[in-house]
Symmetry: C2
Subunit: 329 residues, 2 copies
Amino acid sequence: MKKLMNRVDDFLSESLAGFATAHDDVITLHSEPVFVRRRQLTQGKVALVSGGGSGHEPLHAGFVGYGMLDAACPGQVFTSPTPDQMVSAAEAADTGAGVLFVVKNYSGDVMNFEMAAEMCDVHNATVLVNDDVAVENSSHTTGRRGVAGTVIVEKVVGSLAETGANLAECKAFGDRVAECTASMGVAFTSCIVPAAGTTTFRLGDDEMEVGVGIHGEPGRRRAKLASADAISSELLETIVADLEPPRGTELLVLVNGLGGTPLGELYLLFNSARQWLERRGLRVARSLIGNVTTSLEMAGASLTLCTLDDEIRRHWDTPVRTPALRWGI
Amino acid sequence: MKKLMNRVDDFLSESLAGFATAHDDVITLHSEPVFVRRRQLTQGKVALVSGGGSGHEPLHAGFVGYGMLDAACPGQVFTSPTPDQMVSAAEAADTGAGVLFVVKNYSGDVMNFEMAAEMCDVHNATVLVNDDVAVENSSHTTGRRGVAGTVIVEKVVGSLAETGANLAECKAFGDRVAECTASMGVAFTSCIVPAAGTTTFRLGDDEMEVGVGIHGEPGRRRAKLASADAISSELLETIVADLEPPRGTELLVLVNGLGGTPLGELYLLFNSARQWLERRGLRVARSLIGNVTTSLEMAGASLTLCTLDDEIRRHWDTPVRTPALRWGI
């Protein structure tokens, strides 16, 4: 295992310490229990709180800041944060309008966020993100997994919350955006969890895992390596079959790197995806290309489509200022 | 070789096509010869033009836009762009105040930019960046290599150019910033050049290359894998011996991922570097952590220090709007 680290047991705390120092204009790091909070809260605004296992950086802590999340709870690598982290984060983020939990659909996360929702002394609601169309159930999940589409939900619901919308409105918008967002990924290599020290799964030199999960969970099939065009076609066929966008639909396309794939390849995959979509009469109106929901050093990428309407497009375009996503401010 | 691509020969053109579509609000892509130009030029502003081999994305094309470059010339992977690309880019970017070429110190780049400087019909000057303190000469270089410090030069000189400074002032500032910027990196794995199809060099499972170049050139020594603290200490000892910053100096610290290393590890390395610097009485006043000058999918990272004064700090903080770096706008 080759990683920039000292002791395995200190991996998360040292990484978070670096993150907190680098971005102390935007966020603060709380310890015991661990959560990251927006430095400046807005009174009376619905607070968005998310969290999940670490190893998916910049998700979620990298999206805490104006226009997105108010707090995020990082668990150990690929391990759900605990209910006490969530309760503390929610209570520290609430300014009177309640808390909206944004939860990726993994059994551990769902259970702990449900427990936190009951325990915490704050009016709250939950948006569940389950955008991964690769498999219906998996080793970590009942129902579809939540993956990179979560970033879109956090961006646009975060924007709505900044306008002063109430908790029910934010929850309804989040549910709607989650429903019109779908993702699927492919892995070329496994990641290595620091505490395990070895690869999560093994792939031959000419193999890829189609529909891989962001923890290295199995996808739909193990296949021979294919061209970018063939990969984008397979992923998009599945995504489009799920979303069923009519011809002429405007899309937000997210090409997400899983951690070990160079930016040049992600742009190439975007080019391939755009051509495929245009051949189907679909329009790429917005795009985001980069590593936003990673799986440690895994090589590979995922494609996410979100069908846009005026409201979603408007909230995608609003200013945002977080460690990982920043524009217009 | 596992890459998101179709035919090797189309790798660069398809990647650039994706890049150009994704960022057509900021840049335009010219073909025959290939260069990327800012969509909107400012009349009478000194134009900054850079370029170099591809495979280091987002460098350089990702830094074309308001506050940084006016144009960039991408060569084939790890291959200098040609003089005709540079001449065309310079002539397309010039609006009357001349062109400043920002050139990383590699023999091919230097020769071609010199030829372009002579051939082109535009008043011009050149800033040479040679921030890599690992080795004095290398397989690709006479003198020190230019690496991630180039991004700092492009940011702050780009900012000065926006104020209406003339070509001589921009050149002098660039030379000064390049002199107070130093870098050194470490690799855990080799990259694979698409046209080669195999790793550039081989490392054992417990080895790292200390002082590696961004094309996989040899560094100072092949060593056993070490902790993040030991690595940051070795890199910073060398960098600080070069810059000789007095106690109390304010620094800009850039932790640059080489392409295959997760963000969480880069933050951990930053944490380690910050502690080392503070023990030496140096102050981390600004930081940037991410993949800004990569070496395809190489795992590893580099550290760059730039000693700040009021002028450099002010120009670091100004708004920027490029595909890869964006704030305040």
